[in-house]
């Protein structure tokens, strides 16, 4: 059960204040992939910074540095750390030395300087007016196009600042965190058993992955063995969420190129899967099902088997639609070569999920750091290297096939037995867990004292992948931006938290 708990590094790794972390290496001698970075407070409110790396082993590696003084930035060596360090500064006021861009990230103009919500009282934070400077691209014929935060459609808010020459995008600057809700702070003080409800509201369309990831972190912390039946149901929920998400994304891509017929089919299939879910577990998006220790209630085996059959039907139709999409010349014309994310950029920014796999990075938590029922499965991980919209569309279509297969196999042979092991989260506990959500690697790190959470960090795949978007859109025309954006399918709320 503890395989996913980060292995602690030897004591010699503790660096002195102000010094910089030496990035660990994989066995092959390459720099390890940065998984996440976050701050926390020790028992005596001393500041700590946690770095989690993927060194190529099934266990993640965690390094904890004391942060009682300034901290050296690793953003130049590991660009993936750039946003994490800005977030650390905004949340904890930790001084980051040598960071190339320390503008406020999660708080906007209305937030006063010098108030750090994870360490300061935040009952009545005054409204302020501070300045935010966008990067200025200068030169003849360069214009700026500002889009958002309110977008033209049923979409989440965020701001995009394009610098363009004619139709061509030279540079895109993201300004997000409009949906920042202080979620990590809200976890503090909650009862451990009341954590899943908040985790489910981090990113609503991936609510089950978030809830399962949170629960696994608690289970790892407390050394709980989850009943096999609950693990099987969780696998079905996780794969169904991926299938729904990928069907919806492929439909969304069709909407963005005006292929309404296929978009309508995909919307119908997505709805059929949601309705089957409601029949099976009472919730369209699998909210309120999982709790630390297993499931809140058992599902009827017959209904789960019906769900499996529903998935088989929906997937058969989806593969027809997918063929229709991939063989339509006008779709090929729009999808191919649009929004290429190079392998180098993807690697530098430690991009995860289908976006990474479409750019040639072979990584999947289910296979590389198996958890729950995935320990007993062999997972096929499709990878391609073109990195364009077509590659990301194909990636989703291939992954949908794997998910449909996994659901059918598991639904046919649901283990018998109970679905809940009681959890007693007494004393000081810490746990870490990772899940392959539809958008990629999702991690929770939690710490509780006496049954109440003292810290819960959420590493969301969207936070990780958003900084890669500007690299994919540079050189494309502005009219292709919605398509490229959709092909990444990132959550604003998941990123902003």
């Amino acid at each position: 059960m503890r395989e996913n708990t980060p292995a602690s590094f030897p004591d010699g790794e503790r660096a002195s204040p102000g010094t910089m972390l030496a990035i660990p290496q994989t066995r092959e001698g390459a720099p390890a992939r940065l998984v996440t970075m976050f701050g926390s407070l020790g028992a005596n409110r001393e500041l700590r910074v946690h770095y989690v790396f993927d060194v190529g082993d099934p266990d993640y590696g965690e390094i904890v540095l004391p942060a009682d003084g300034p901290l050296g930035s690793i953003a130049l060596q590991a660009p993936a750390a750039a946003w994490y360090e800005r977030e650390l500064h905004d949340q904890y006021g930790i001084e980051i030395v040598g960071h190339p861009d320390l503008r406020p990230l999660i708080f906007h103009d209305n937030w006063p300087d010098g108030v750090y919500p994870m360490v300061d009282p935040v009952d009545d934070v005054p409204w302020s007016k501070r300045e935010y400077r966008f990067l200025q691209v200068q030169g003849e014929g360069i214009a700026e196009v500002a889009v958002g935060p309110v977008h033209a459609g049923i979409i989440e808010p965020g701001h995009f600042r394009f610098s363009v020459v004619g139709d061509t995008i030279l540079h895109l600057e993201l300004r997000h965190f409009y949906t920042h809700k202080g979620t990590e702070k809200l976890f503090e003080g909650r009862q451990v058993m009341n954590g899943p409800m908040l985790a489910e509201s981090v990113s609503g369309d991936n609510c089950f992955a978030h809830a399962v990831c949170y629960c696994q972190a608690v289970e790892n912390a407390c050394g709980i063995d989850v009943p096999r039946r609950a693990l099987a149901v969780r696998l079905i929920g996780l794969e169904l969420e991926r299938l729904v998400s990928h069907v919806s994304d492929v439909g969304g891509l069709c909407t963005d190129v005006g292929f309404g017929v296929a978009a309508a089919y995909a919307a119908r299939l997505k709805e059929s899967l949601l309705r089957e879910s409601a029949q099976c577990c009472g919730a369209r998006y699998w909210r309120g099902i999982t709790v630390p220790g297993g499931l809140r209630f058992d599902l009827d085996s017959g209904k789960v088997a019906e769900l499996g059959q529903g998935v088989a039907r929906a997937y058969r139709e989806f593969s027809e639609i997918a063929r229709l999409i991939l063989e339509t010349p006008s779709i090929q014309n729009r999808f191919e070569t649009a929004g290429i994310l190079s392998r180098e950029a993807a690697q530098d920014l430690a991009v995860v999920g289908p976006v990474a796999r479409a750019s040639g990075i072979d990584l999947d938590v289910r296979r590389d750091h198996p958890y729950g029922r995935y320990r007993d499965c062999s997972i096929e991980v499709p990878v391609t290297h073109y990195g364009d919209v077509m590659a990301r569309a194909r990636m989703r279509i291939s992954e949908a096939a794997v998910s449909a297969q996994l659901i059918q196999e598991t639904a046919k042979s649901l283990p018998d037995g109970g679905v809940l092991t009681p959890v007693a989260a007494q004393g000081d506990v810490q746990g870490f867990s990772a899940v392959e959500s539809p958008r990629g690697e999702l991690c929770y790190w939690m710490e509780a004292r006496g049954g109440r959470l003292t810290r819960c960090h959420v590493k969301s795949p969207s936070f990780q992948n958003w900084p890669a978007m500007p690299f994919a859109v540079a050189g494309n025309i502005i009219a292709d931006f919605p398509l490229i954006n959709k092909s990444f399918n990132l959550s604003y709320s998941g990123c902003d938290r």
């Binding site: 708080f107 209305n110 937030w111 919500p117 934070v125 935060p149 309110v150 033209a152 459609g153 049923i154 989440e156 808010p157 965190f177 409009y178 949906t179 920042h180 809700k181 202080g182 979620t183 702070k185 809200l186 009341n194 409800m197 908040l198 509201s201 981090v202 609503g204 369309d205 609510c207 919806s248 017929v261 309508a264 089919y265 919307a267 119908r268 997505k270 709805e271 059929s272 949601l274 309705r275 879910s277 409601a278 009472g282 919730a283 369209r284 998006y285 909210r287 309120g288 809140r296 209630f297 027809e320 639609i321 229709l324 063989e327 339509t328 010349p329 959550s491 604003y492 709320s493 998941g494």
Partner: protein
């Protein structure tokens, strides 16, 4: 190729749900309902303790000890169903969508084991009445004030072939300047407060505002956060509330039509 597309179209089954089957439907919403004759003071106390958003509370009402359920605060987590010893079940029918704020609250006399709130609105179910509500088209602008995107996913579903809102003459528009109604989701975050006000101002009068989801109605699970301003009505005036976390497409249809019905009845 075009033959394939037409062939596929002809093979698609008709999935359209008649409006009568949508109104009041809440399948998959996890909204709770109190079974009044199972209520005891001890159970009521337990329910209040396990509710994570204070949707359930104890209240004095005309000298009676009462259990209050504010649907606008309920996130459907299922704790009350799990720990309620049969006194709380999952609602089979739910019509408190698109109603005024006070109508999203129900109150039960614990000792008398009876509900003392007036009944829920009854959405008119006949096609003719629905049609007369919407003689002209209704343009809706969805506005995310900071939601988790759960509500967005369900609002997007309104245009799929099962619900097909366009059949009522309801369209989702890209600009607030084209809109008659704002469908606002999420708690209003600090970072979105100005944009929410600006969007509201951009909608030409007369305008309708509907607060969608537990967060839009009350702040939901995010109540008390330093990064949010509050529910939608903390920032702009609201005409109707649609509870749920997230509300299902059927609840959204019920809510949108109820807001219109109330507007016309005024």
């Amino acid at each position: 190729m075009i033959g394939d597309v037409i062939g596929q179209s002809l093979r698609q089954p008709d999935r359209l749900i008649p409006v009568e089957a949508l109104l009041g439907n809440c399948d998959g919403s996890r909204m709770p309902d109190v079974v009044a004759d199972r209520l005891t003071p001890a159970i009521a106390q337990r329910l209040i303790e396990v509710c994570p958003t204070a949707a359930l509370g104890m209240e004095e009402y005309e000298g009676h000890r009462c259990l209050r359920l504010s649907y606008g605060q309920c996130i459907g987590c299922g704790q009350c169903v799990e720990f309620g010893e049969g006194a709380v079940g999952t609602a089979k029918h739910f019509t408190r969508c698109g109603v005024a704020k006070k109508q999203t609250v129900r109150v039960w006399d614990i000792d008398g084991r009876t509900e003392i709130t007036p009944g829920a609105p009854r959405p008119e179910a006949s096609r003719r009445q629905i049609h007369s509500l919407l003689q002209r088209a209704l343009n809706i602008r969805q506005l995310d004030a900071g939601s988790c995107n759960g509500c967005e996913a369900e609002i997007t579903a309104l245009t799929n072939p099962y619900y097909d809102l366009e059949r009522f003459g309801i369209h989702f528009v890209a600009s607030p300047k084209h809109a008659d109604m704002l469908l606002v989701t999420g708690p209003v975050t600090r970072n979105m407060a100005d944009a929410v006000k600006a969007t509201y101002d951009a909608v030409p009068a007369p305008k309708l505002v509907v607060a969608v989801g537990a967060c839009g109605c009350s702040g939901g699970i995010f109540t008390g956060s330093h990064a949010i301003v509050g529910a939608v009505d903390a920032v702009v005036p609201v005409d109707g509330y649609v509870p749920g976390c997230p509300p299902t497409p059927a609840m959204l249809v019920t809510g949108i039509l109820e807001v219109l019905r109330r507007r016309i009845a005024k």
